[in-house]
C-alpha cells in the first residue's frame, strides 16, 4: 500500500491522490544518477502535511469577495484553498487523462505524463473548475518546497535535496571565520529534525558542529 510505503499517516490526501502525486512529482524532480527524486524524498508526504496546515486552508490569506479574475499582475484570486485545488485539480486532471489517453495519470508512460504536465503548465488543459496553470504552479511550488525544506516537514527525506546542492543545512558557528576564504566548505548536512532527534551535536549557542566531507580529486 502506498501509504505504508511512505511511512506516514495521510490526513488530507486519498490513496488515489497519493498515487497521482507520487507519479507527478517523480516527473518534476526525477530519481536519477544524481540521487533520489521528489517521490523518493517523500514530497507527497510534505504536500499532505502542508494541506492540513494553516497554509493549506489559506488561514492567513485575505478571503473576502467579490471574486474577480483580475490581470496576471494582480496575483492569486481563486476562491479555492490549496486543499480544494489539489482535490479538484487531481480529479479533473485524471478525467482529462482518461479522455485523452484512456487511463488515469499514474498509469501513463513517463513521456505521456510529461506531456500532461507541460499542457497543465501552459494552461492548455481546460479543467472545469480551475485554471490548469494554477494547479500546476501550486504543485510545482510545493514540490520544490518539499524537496528543499527542512525534513521536519515530511519531505527532503535523508536531506536528499540538500545533498544534491551541497547545502549544509543548519548553520555552523564556524562560518564567520570562513567567510572571506576561498576554501570549499563542504559538510554533511544537518537538519532541524536531526537536532530535535539528537542526531547532531550543537554548541552552547545552538550552532551545529559540521562534519566536513573530504573533497575527492577533480570535484
Amino acid at each position: 500500500m502506498d501509504e505504508s510505503k511512505h511511512g506516514h499517516a495521510f490526513s488530507c490526501l486519498t490513496q488515489m491522490e497519493i498515487r497521482f502525486l507520487d507519479a507527478a512529482v517523480e516527473r518534476l524532480i526525477p530519481t536519477d544518477d544524481l540521487g533520489p527524486g521528489a517521490k523518493d524524498a517523500d514530497v507527497t508526504v510534505y504536500i499532505d502535511r502542508q494541506l492540513s496546515s494553516v497554509w493549506g486552508t489559506h488561514g492567513r490569506n485575505y478571503r473576502s469577495g467579490p471574486w474577480l479574475e483580475g490581470t496576471p499582475q494582480q496575483g492569486f484570486q481563486s476562491r479555492l484553498t490549496p486543499q480544494e485545488i489539489y482535490h479538484v485539480g487531481i480529479l479533473e486532471t485524471n478525467q482529462y487523462c482518461k479522455n485523452v489517453y484512456g487511463k488515469n495519470f499514474e498509469f501513463l508512460t513517463p513521456e505521456q505524463q510529461d506531456e500532461v504536465l507541460q499542457a497543465l503548465e501552459k494552461d492548455k488543459v481546460s479543467l472545469p473548475s480551475l485554471s490548469s496553470k494554477l494547479f500546476f504552479d501550486l504543485l510545482w511550488r510545493n514540490t520544490e518546497e518539499g524537496f528543499f525544506a527542512d525534513p521536519m516537514y515530511g519531505g527532503n527525506k535523508d536531506k536528499a535535496g540538500w545533498r544534491l546542492l551541497g547545502f549544509p543545512g543548519v548553520a555552523s558557528g564556524a562560518y564567520n571565520t570562513h567567510i572571506n576564504k576561498i576554501e570549499i566548505y563542504r559538510a554533511e548536512p544537518v537538519s532541524i529534525l536531526d537536532i530535535q532527534q539528537n542526531k547532531a551535536k550543537v554548541d552552547a549557542q545552538g550552532y551545529v558542529k559540521h562534519v566536513m566531507i573530504k573533497q575527492k580529486d577533480g570535484q
Binding site: 516527473r27 518534476l28 524532480i29 526525477p30 536519477d32 544524481l34 527524486g37 496546515s53 497554509w55 489559506h58 492567513r60 490569506n61 485575505y62 478571503r63 473576502s64 467579490p66 474577480l68 483580475g70 490581470t71 496576471p72 499582475q73 494582480q74 496575483g75 492569486f76 484570486q77 510529461d114 504536465l117 510545482w140 518546497e145 528543499f148 525544506a149 527542512d150 521536519m152 516537514y153 535535496g161 540538500w162 544534491l164 546542492l165 551541497g166 547545502f167 549544509p168 543545512g169 543548519v170 548553520a171 558557528g173 562560518y175 564567520n176 570562513h178 567567510i179 572571506n180 576564504k181 570549499i184 566548505y185 532541524i192 537536532i195 550543537v202 549557542q205 545552538g206 550552532y207 551545529v208
Partner: protein
C-alpha cells in the same frame, strides 16, 4: 459600541517598529508618559528566535507568522486607474511585518544613508539639467530638509543600530576603501565593515579594474560585540545566512527587539500594548487638534486612548490609511492633482545579472547580515547623465545573503523549469554562481497613489487601502542602462556563462521584489504637495506626527530602513526641542 475611555497620556505612538520604538525611547527619555500600540503580538526572542529554529526557510520565508496576516487586513492593487483593484490575497512583492518590532524583525540589515542629492533631487537636477529633465507626469520633489541638517540623526541612528562600515567621506575628506560618493559624515561608523566573501572580492577586484570605487556595504548585523547608545549589548553576527525574512537567533541583527525595546520596557513612564489595532485618530470639535486614538484590543474591545501627541509610526500603507480613515489632510485626487494624502506612493527598482563559473565553487550559504560589496559610481550625482535620458540612479552590488535552498537555485537562462535537466542544472550551479545586483531608485508619478478602496474591507469592516502603481518608462530606461553596465562587469569576470533578466514591462504583485514601499504621507516645505512638514508634523492637525517610509516623497536607490530610523531620531528631537515649547502649534 461605546469605547472604553482610558486616562490621558502625553504621547501615544502607533507601531513599535524601527520608527515607533525610537520615538518612544526618545520621548520617554525626555520624561513624557508614552503608550505604544502595536497590532502584532509580543515575542520573547530569547525563547522563540533561537537556533536551530530560525534556520527554517519554509517557516520564515514562505509561511511566516511574523509577516502581516492578510486574513485581517490587506491592500488592493491595480496597475492603472482604468482597472478594478483586487485584494492582495497572499504576500508576494513585499512583506510588511506584524509583530512587536515590526518589519525590521526580518530585515536584511542593509543600513545605508541616502545621498545629499536624494533629499534635493528636484532642485539639484533642475539646476543642472533644466526643468524639462523630469518627465511631465513626475511628481518627485525635494524633502524640505537637507542632508546637512539630518546628518547628526544618521549618526545617532548608526550608534543605536551598531552599523558596521568604512567611512568614505569624513567631514569632507575622502578616505580610500569607503564610498567616496557618500555625503560627509561627522565621524566613522561605530563598527568595522563586514569581511568580503570570495564572490565579493572578485566583484571588488573587477569593479576596481574598470575604474569604479567598491566598498563593503554598511550593515546593521554586528561585526563585533557591541554596546549601543541605549547601553544594550548586541552579539557578533555569525554570518550563517537565514537573515532577510528571518528573525535572528544571535541577537546580532539590530532591530527594535535587540537595540531599543529591552531598555525601553524598563521605563516606568512607558507602556507597550501588543495586539492593539488602532483604527482611528480622534479630533476635537475644531478638527485642528487630535484628542487621541481609538483601537481594538486583544480581546476585541473598543478602547479610546486620549493623548496630547499622536505619532503614527506604522508601515507606509497604514500611516496613509489611518490618515484617510480619520479625515486628516486632504485626500489626493490624481485627476485634478489636488490633495496630498496618498500622493507620491512609490517603490524601488531592482535587476540582476547572474554569473556562472563551471570551474569554481563558492560557499553561497555563508553570509547574511548584509555581507556585500557595492559601488556608487552610477548613483546620485556621480552618474554622468550625458545622453542617458532618465531621472534617478542605482548602486551595483554583490551581496552574499546566504543562499537558502528553496529560493536560491540559480540556473542559466534556457534551462527547463523542471525535470531531469533542471535537477542537473540546479545541482551543478548552486555552488558555482552569484548575481551582480542593481538596486535602483523609483521616482513618483501623478498616476501612482494610495486611496481607500470602494469595495473591499478589512475584518473590522473598514475600507482597505488601494494601491495604483506600475513601472514607468523612466525606471525601465534606467534599469536597461544598469543591466548593460552589469553585463560589462560580468564579462570582465570571465565567467563560463551569464544570464540577464529582461526589464519588466508591468509591475506585478506576485514575485518578491523588496519591502521598500514608500510615500503616501510625504514630507515637504509646501502644504499643497506634502502631508507633513520637515519635522514630520501634520500641516492640518499639528499634534499629529507621521513618521516612516510614508514620508519619503520618492525613493532613493538604497534601502529605506536607515533613513526611516534617522527620521525617527530627527522627529523626536523636533518634538522635544521645539514642539513641547509651543504645544499644539505648527513648528517652523
Amino acid at each position: 459600541m461605546t469605547p472604553k475611555k482610558l486616562k490621558p497620556v502625553d504621547a501615544v505612538v502607533v507601531g513599535s517598529g524601527v520608527a515607533g520604538s525610537i520615538i518612544c525611547m526618545e520621548l520617554a527619555n525626555a520624561g513624557l508618559q508614552v503608550v505604544c500600540l502595536e497590532r502584532g503580538r509580543l515575542v520573547d526572542p530569547q525563547n522563540e528566535f533561537v537556533m536551530p529554529y530560525t534556520n527554517d526557510e519554509l517557516k520564515f520565508d514562505r509561511h511566516s507568522d511574523i509577516f502581516q496576516n492578510l486574513s485581517r487586513e490587506t491592500i488592493t492593487f491595480r496597475n492603472q486607474m482604468s482597472e478594478t483593484a483586487l485584494p492582495m490575497r497572499e504576500l508576494g512583492s513585499f512583506k510588511p511585518g506584524e509583530i512587536v518590532g515590526g518589519t525590521a524583525v526580518h530585515w536584511g540589515c542593509n543600513a545605508r544613508r541616502f545621498l545629499p542629492y536624494d533629499f534635493e533631487i528636484r532642485s539639484r537636477m533642475t539646476k543642472k539639467h533644466g526643468k524639462d529633465f523630469f518627465p511631465e507626469d513626475c511628481t518627485s520633489q525635494d524633502w524640505g530638509v537637507t542632508y546637512e541638517e539630518l546628518e547628526p540623526y544618521y549618526d545617532q541612528f548608526e550608534h543605536i543600530y551598531g552599523v558596521g562600515g568604512k567611512a568614505g567621506n569624513l567631514n569632507g575628506e575622502i578616505h580610500t576603501g569607503g564610498n567616496p560618493f557618500e555625503g560627509p559624515r561627522s565621524r566613522d561608523y561605530p563598527n568595522p565593515p563586514t569581511l568580503s566573501t570570495p564572490q565579493g572580492q572578485l566583484f571588488a577586484k573587477t569593479a576596481q579594474s574598470l575604474g569604479y570605487h567598491p566598498f563593503p556595504g554598511p550593515a546593521a548585523a554586528m561585526t563585533r560585540d557591541y554596546t549601543n547608545l541605549y547601553k544594550l549589548h548586541l552579539g557578533e553576527c555569525q554570518r550563517g545566512g537565514f537573515c532577510s525574512s528571518h528573525a535572528c537567533a544571535q541577537g546580532a541583527k539590530a532591530n527594535p527587539l535587540t537595540a531599543v525595546l529591552p531598555a525601553l520596557m524598563k521605563k516606568d513612564n512607558f507602556e507597550l500594548r501588543p495586539l492593539c489595532n488602532v483604527i482611528k485618530i480622534n479630533k476635537d470639535s475644531t478638527g485642528k487638534q487630535a484628542t487621541g486614538v481609538t483601537y481594538i484590543d486583544a480581546r476585541g474591545q473598543l478602547v479610546e486612548q486620549p493623548a496630547n501627541i499622536v505619532v503614527l509610526a506604522t508601515y507606509c500603507f497604514n500611516n496613509t490609511r489611518l490618515l484617510l480613515l480619520s479625515g486628516i489632510g486632504q485626500p489626493y485626487d490624481p485627476v485634478n492633482g489636488t490633495g496630498v494624502v496618498g500622493r507620491n506612493y512609490s517603490y524601488q527598482t531592482g535587476s540582476k545579472v547572474q554569473v556562472f563559473f563551471d570551474d569554481q565553487e563558492f560557499n553561497p550559504f555563508i553570509g547574511g547580515g548584509m555581507t556585500s560589496v557595492q559601488f556608487d559610481d552610477f548613483n546620485g550625482e556621480a552618474l554622468d547623465r550625458t545622453g542617458l535620458g532618465f531621472v534617478g540612479s542605482a548602486y551595483i552590488a554583490v551581496s552574499s545573503a546566504g543562499a537558502t535552498p528553496i529560493k536560491s537555485k540559480p540556473v542559466p537562462s534556457g534551462t527547463p523549469r523542471w525535470g531531469g535537466a533542471w535537477k542537473k542544472a540546479v545541482a551543478h550551479n548552486y555552488r558555482r554562481s552569484f548575481s551582480i545586483g542593481v538596486h535602483g531608485s523609483c521616482q513618483s508619478y501623478r498616476q501612482h497613489y494610495l486611496d481607500l478602496d470602494p469595495t473591499y474591507r478589512d475584518s473590522n469592516g473598514l475600507p482597505l487601502l488601494r494601491m495604483t502603481f506600475d513601472w514607468h518608462q523612466n525606471e525601465q530606461k534606467m534599469l536597461k542602462f544598469m543591466n548593460e553596465k552589469c553585463v560589462e562587469i560580468a564579462k570582465a569576470m570571465s565567467p563560463s556563462t551569464y544570464s540577464t533578466h529582461a526589464v519588466p514591462t508591468k509591475y506585478s504583485i506576485i514575485p518578491y521584489q523588496s519591502t521598500h514601499n514608500i510615500g503616501g504621507a510625504v514630507m515637504g516645505a509646501d502644504p499643497s504637495t506634502s502631508v507633513v512638514n520637515k519635522h514630520l508634523q501634520s500641516w492640518d492637525v499639528p499634534n499629529v506626527f507621521v513618521v516612516g517610509g510614508s514620508a519619503f516623497p520618492q525613493n532613493a536607490a538604497v534601502g529605506p530602513t536607515e533613513t526611516i530610523g534617522m527620521l525617527a531620531c530627527w522627529t523626536a528631537d523636533g518634538i522635544k526641542d521645539l514642539y513641547l515649547k509651543r504645544p499644539g502649534q505648527l513648528m517652523v
